[in-house]
Amino acid sequence: MTRARRWFAEHWLAVASPAAVLLGWEWASAAGLLREAFFPRPSTVLVHLERLLADGTLWNHASVTLARIGWAFALAAVLGVAVGLAMGLWRRLRESLDPVFAVIYPIPSILFLPLVSFLVPAGEVVAVLTTAVTSFFLIAFTTTHGVRQIEPRVVEAAVHFGARGVRLFTTVLLPGALPFIFTGLRLGLGYALIVVVAVEIVAASRGLGALLWLSWQVLKVEDMYATFLVIALLGAVLSYGLAALRTRLLPWVQDVAER
């Protein structure tokens, strides 16, 4: 208990600041300083959130979004790590694919939606593939970088001690690249959320992004805020949850871009 209390004593501002803002908002909205119809009280938003949870709307949409992210990330991760490792290990491959990747990577993912919709029949696959694209490139890039940044002396030493092929890979290359791979996966997951929400706003009738936009179209403002809250929560879980998980399960793995 004292550890928590000590943290609180040192960091009370971190709690007080948002609390003050929320309370101030609640008051301003109730007092009419903020137009309540467009800036509803936090308490009202919570009530609407509860209602959305209770009647199942929220879960209906959230589960669709989560499924899309899940599939997209799985696809991007498996292919991204595989291609990234291959590119890291074989120079010819890297040199051939590099320019293509470098051109495609900076393109905002949402722009791939039309292309994917031409290639694939309308439906979930379109959303999943579009969501997977940038994450794939991100993961591939970081994986490649992870392999290439391993100090050559380490590899030399291992070879000197008789490590070859698969053994070299599993004992030296993979562990050496792991921090980067992990960072890439974490960033890739965050990106997947960003893209899926954009895709849902544009082209879907279900999903958190679709719910957000629909609430806006019919001016159900409290639902807009409630949905936003859920999206923010999801973002936090995906970003920070994965980092926390890593600290617990793989504490020896460094995260290269800690934030």
């Binding site: 293509v100 470098a102 495609i104 990577y105 900076p106 393109i107 706003i201 544009v202 936090a236």
Partner: protein, 257 residues
């Protein structure tokens, strides 16, 4: 992403050229439907024509302006804030909750709220781009300050530097690489956000062009706009990396993360 520059240029160009040639062949022989995948030569022709007539150039300028404005607003606010947060604990405590909360949120989700606040128009679009860049820059800047080796600070103080002097001579230079990385990433994020907003809600700009031509199925125009966005993104990424290498020449590896 600072990938190794290769001397073996031919291979690097060979693959894209081969892919384009394959596409051309498939489109012309209708293996790929030319309606959805017009031959690259057709796309190139449209691209040249529209650029020459100024249409595409105009839209490019619109996107570019929104991006630069959004980035400028973000940078001007985020760098000082990040520095302050890195140096002054109470400031960090007070502000970090908001940063941590909003950073992982897809900024496009802010669009409806900005539309309410600012109406449909440039300010809402620019601000969406600005928020995307803002949080990245704050976090990178703050991280840069926090990562300064405490011994550096000690040495600085031992030599009589305090307050503003310490900041200018020790803290700022030490944090500069991270700040620059943050700015570089932030600009990229601003572009992505602006193009996404244009795709969804604007009536001008490259993102909107892609959307409109998609809806009308005028695919050569759509791919032309798409290619332009890719070129813009590539130029930005490469250009900024090169700039970072120049400005921070003393750094060995300017890294990508």
């Amino acid at each position: 992403m600072a990938l190794a520059a290769t001397r073996r240029v031919p291979l690097g160009l060979l693959v894209p050229a081969a892919l384009l040639a394959l596409w051309e062949l498939c489109a012309r022989t209708a293996v790929l439907s030319p309606r959805y995948f017009p031959p690259p030569t057709a796309i190139g022709a449209v691209l040249v024509e529209r650029l020459a007539s100024g249409d595409l150039g105009g839209e490019l300028l619109v996107t570019l302006t929104r991006m630069m404005l959004g980035f400028a607003v973000a940078a001007v606010l985020a760098v000082p804030l990040g520095l302050l947060m890195g140096m002054v604990r109470p400031v960090r405590d007070a502000v970090e909750p908001y940063v941590a909360f909003i950073f992982p949120v897809p900024k496009i989700a802010l669009l409806p709220f900005l539309l309410i606040l600012l109406g449909v128009g440039e300010p809402a679009f620019v601000l969406t781009g600005a928020t995307s860049a803002f949080f990245q820059i704050v976090i990178s800047t703050m991280g840069g300050v926090q990562a300064i080796d405490p011994r550096l600070l000690e040495v600085g103080r031992n030599y009589g530097a305090h307050g503003a002097r310490l900041f200018r001579k020790v803290i700022l230079p030490a944090a500069l690489p991270s700040i620059f990385t943050g700015l570089r990433l932030g600009l990229g994020l601003a572009l992505v956000a602006i193009v996404a907003v244009e795709f969804i809600a604007a009536k001008s700009g490259l993102g909107h062009l892609v959307y409109r031509h998609w809806q009308m199925l005028s695919t050569p125009e759509m791919y032309a706009a798409f290619a332009l966005v890719g070129a813009l993104g590539l130029a930005l990424t490469r250009g900024l990396s090169a700039l970072q290498d120049r400005v921070l020449a003393w750094q060995e590896d300017t890294g990508s993360l």
